[in-house]
Symmetry: C2
Subunit: 202 residues, 2 copies
C-alpha cells in the first residue's frame, strides 16, 4: 500500500503494531483522527503516554495501580483471609465486575508455557509464597483459565502451596449459566456431573 | 467496567473513541502497550501527533500531502489531461494501488448527503470548477461509489461540468473480477449486460 504522505505512513505503521489492527484498519484510524479536531489526537496521545509512564504495579498483588499499593489491597473492607490467584490483570477486572469476590488478589503476570519460554521464575510466584507467612490468608482460590498452560500453572502452584497451612480451591467448572446442555463440550459436561452440587446451593 | 487505575481508564476512554474500537478492545490495546517497552507507546503517540499537526492538504487536489502541493500533482510524468474526481483520500490510495491510473486527482472531501447535512458547498466542488479554465484537462473521470449519495453527487457534478469543454466519464460497473454471476446482485448484473464491451477489449 502506497501512501501520499510519509507522516500518515508512519502513523499507520505504528498503529498497525497494535494487536488486531491491520494496515487497512490503521489507515482508517489515522484518517479518522485527521478528520476530527486535533485536540482529539492530543488527548489520545497524552492519555497513552501518561498511562505508560505513570501506571504502577501494586507491590503487594502486582495488579496495575495509580499508587504504590493498589486500591483493593488498601481497602479495609476486603476479606484478607481469601486470596485469589489470577494470571492476568484482565482477570482481576473480569472478577471485580461480577461483584462476587471480596478477598484480595495476586496477579501472576502470565502462565507457565514452555513453548513461549515462560517458566515459573518469570511469574510472580516467589512473591506469592512470600506473602503467605505472617498473613491472615486462609484460602487461596486459583482462578486460572482451564487451558493446558493454565492447568500446568495451577498444578505447579498446588505443589508449592501444599506445605503452607492454606486451603486451596479453584473456580467451579461446569455448564455456563444460560448454556445449553447439548452444546456443552463433553469434558465440561462430564466435570459438571462429577462435581455436582446440592440443589439450591448458591 | 471498573478499572483498577484512573490512568488506564482515561487511556481506554480515549482509545474507545476511535471507530470500531469498543471498551473491551480499548482495554486490550492499553494492556498491550503496558506490556511492551514504553518506547513503543512514545513512538505511537509521537507519530499520531506529528501526523495531526504537520499533514497538509494539497492546495491543487485536496489530497493529503507532506508538502503544499502533493507528489502526484507535482509529478511531471502524470497525464495532466485526465482528472479523476473521488470523494475521499482513501479512494486515491485504492486507485493508486491499482497502478492503472496515470492522471491527476481531485478529492471532494465527501459526498452530497442531505441526511447528514452535507451540501455541495461543503465539498471541494468550487475549486474543481476553478481548476478547469486554463488547464490541460480534457477528461474528467468520476470515480465515486455507486451509493445513493454518490450517484447524487455524480449527477450534480455532471450538470455543473457540462458547460465546460471536457469529456465526462465514470468507472465501469459490472461483475467484479473473480465474482460469480449467480451471486452478483441483479442491478449490477443488469448493468454489466447493458454496458457490455467487445470481447478482448482491455
Amino acid at each position: 500500500m502506497e501512501f501520499p504522505s510519509k507522516l500518515i505512513e508512519n502513523a499507520v505503521e505504528e498503529l498497525a503494531k497494535l494487536p488486531g489492527v491491520g494496515r487497512k484498519t490503521a489507515l482508517r484510524l489515522a484518517l479518522h483522527l485527521l478528520k476530527e479536531e486535533s485536540e482529539e489526537t492530543f488527548l489520545l496521545a497524552e492519555a497513552l503516554v501518561k498511562m505508560r509512564t505513570e501506571v504502577k504495579h501494586c507491590k503487594e498483588c502486582h495488579n496495575i495501580s495509580d499508587t504504590e499499593v493498589c486500591g483493593i489491597c488498601l481497602n479495609p473492607l476486603r476479606d484478607r483471609s481469601l486470596l485469589c490467584v489470577v494470571s492476568d490483570i484482565r482477570d482481576v477486572i473480569a472478577i471485580e465486575n461480577t461483584s462476587q469476590f471480596k478477598g484480595l488478589y495476586h496477579v501472576l503476570g502470565g502462565v507457565i508455557s514452555p513453548i513461549e519460554g515462560v517458566g515459573p521464575s518469570d511469574l510472580h510466584i516467589d512473591s506469592l509464597l512470600e506473602r503467605l507467612p505472617n498473613s491472615e490468608i486462609k484460602e487461596i482460590l486459583l482462578a486460572i483459565s482451564p487451558t493446558m498452560e493454565g492447568d500446568t500453572t495451577a498444578f505447579y502452584l498446588t505443589r508449592k502451596l501444599r506445605d503452607h497451612n492454606v486451603r486451596i480451591t479453584t473456580i467451579a467448572r461446569g455448564v455456563p449459566v444460560g448454556g445449553e446442555l447439548e452444546y456443552t463440550d463433553e469434558i465440561t459436561l462430564g466435570r459438571s456431573i462429577v462435581e455436582r452440587t446440592s440443589y439450591g446451593k448458591n
